[in-house]
Amino acid sequence: MKILVCISNVPDTTSKITFTNDNTAFNSAGVQYIVNPYDEIALSKAIDLAEGGKGSVTVITVGDASTDATIRKALATGADNAIRVNATPRDAWFVANQIAHYAKENNFDLILTGRESIDYNGAQVAGFVASLLNIPSVSISKKLDIDGNTATVEREIEGGKEVLTLNLPAVIGTAEGVAETKIPNMRGIMSARTKPLDVIEPLEVAQLSQIVKFETPEPRGTVTLVDAGDVEKLVALLHEKAKVI
């Protein structure tokens, strides 16, 4: 089974988010970049599925050379080879078109993405890629089993879950529950240096949207403390002042 895992290079989860140029650009100064945490789940699942010669795992990322450290981390975790589409990602549509184009020419049985990226929170890439390839997709899966040509997926719905089967090839967006996140070991880190990382040039894609500016939330006011022995006061404040109960 040939598996393609889409990897996004995102600011570390502890990053303080700031902007430059009149709030039109993300300020990456001093920010550590990591494999998107949901993509780590996708990658870990792919490695499990391919284990013991049952398949191969290719990772793909759209990014400039600065993302190489992130790709090497994916290789060290256990991917077999990597593709970097040499472009600064503009939006999810641009990224999805690059991935779909590569996938079309290389016939994967399964394409895994994270359920969303923690920077732009799109949850768009899985659906876009599947639509471009005209194959089924599930955007947020909590469990994934593959049996022959069929994927059984558990998907979250409001107040419950749904179990689905899909024919492969398919695109699945993964969330917690699908796999335990793997971390690279020493052997993985050593072997990652010799694994193939191919750089390919991007396709032209029409631009349909553009982020014109960013904003950070207003700082919240200061806390009103209530004595632990006087919970009635909290109830009264929530009713009379905050008007939320």
């Binding site: 997709s137 599930v138 919970v231």
Partner: protein, 324 residues
């Protein structure tokens, strides 16, 4: 031209987020002199369908076939795309629910439309272009996205736009779509729904607890508190990682992002990744025994105290207040 809005139902009943989506579509339509057409897929009765008029839909397309009873994003997307073409829709609105997240990109891709997901406010309209405010960096920031394609798709975050009534009466039309067999390679095998549970993304009040609760056996008081308040329950990441609670309750940067009217955090430290998913809550109450817990910095109200002492007292006080 029209604004097409997809309205989601659960077992034949529209969700609150469906009414939010129609109200949102109507507010855009008022500014662009369009009409709002709603499309409903699945077994929904006429009385439910006509309710959509109350929120601004002048026409409701109802697709009600056995084959389309359960959600299959490929087939649903194909139907919504067809309906938007047939009705010359310039904007397609849907809710950024779990299903909506699967649907929105498929619709946008087929319509060659720009997609704004996680919209939290009405767009500003600039000629043919819309500018939409959406959440970014998991609630640590907002982005303003200019949609410049001919057709636009907007997925509205639940709980971000108030349901508004308008005086419109909806004409209901049965709509029989032509769907490709290939759109049905996904098959829904089973749906498990906890009927007594309030859906977390849509909840007005959320009661959330963290590692301070020590173990899963202590969650009864959290559930009781949630019950008294009519709230959904949530937890921090280590709690679901440890299997004390299901992953579907994990809120934060790598969990669900919520924006209820009231978020009560009990025994949660307030790490940056947790705050990312809850900081757009309107009112935040924190109960923590550590006065230095970072959560107090973003709370509106706080109690420094032991959860095992404070929560039972709070339950009694709320019961008394509610006359229970």
């Amino acid at each position: 031209m029209s604004i097409l809005v997809y309205v989601e139902n659960t077992d034949g009943k529209f969700k609150k987020s469906a009414f939010e989506a129609v109200s949102y579509a109507k507010a855009i339509a008022n500014q662009t002199q369009n009409q709002v057409i709603a499309i409903s897929i699945g077994n929904v009765e006429e009385a439910q369908l006509s309710q959509l008029g109350k929120y601004g839909a002048s026409k409701v397309l109802s697709v009600n076939t056995e084959q389309l009873k359960s959600f299959v994003n490929q087939a649903y997307a194909a139907i919504i795309v067809d309906a938007s073409k047939a009705n010359d829709a310039s904007v397609v609105v849907l809710s950024n629910s779990f299903s909506g997240k699967g649907l929105a990109p498929r619709i946008a891709a087929k319509l060659n439309a720009a997609l704004a997901d996680g919209a939290i406010e009405l767009p500003t309209i600039n000629g043919q272009n819309l500018q939409v405010k959406t959440g970014a960096f998991s609630g640590k920031a907002f982005s303003f996205v200019a949609l410049t394609s001919a057709i636009k798709v907007i997925a509205l975050n639940p709980n971000s736009f108030e349901v508004k009534e308008s005086e419109v009466s909806a004409a209901i039309e049965n709509y029989t779509p032509s769907v490709d067999a290939s759109d049905f390679s996904t098959i829904v095998k089973e749906i498990v729904r906890a009927t007594d549970k309030i859906s977390l993304p849509e909840a007005d009040i959320v009661v959330s607890a963290g590692r301070g609760l020590k173990g899963p056996e202590n969650w009864a008081m959290i559930e009781e508190l949630a019950n008294v308040l009519g709230a959904a329950t949530a937890c921090s990441k280590p709690v679901s990682d440890a299997g004390w609670r299901p992953h579907s309750e994990h809120v934060g940067q790598t969990g669900i992002v919520v924006s209820p009217n009231l978020y009560i955090a009990i025994g949660i430290s307030g790490a940056i990744q947790h705050l990312a998913g809850v900081s757009s809550s309107k009112t935040i109450v924190v109960i923590n025994k550590d006065p230095e817990a970072p959560f107090f910095k973003v709370a509106d109200y706080g109690i420094i105290g032991d959860a095992f002492d404070v929560v039972p007292k709070l339950i009694s006080a709320l019961k008394a207040y509610k006359g229970l």
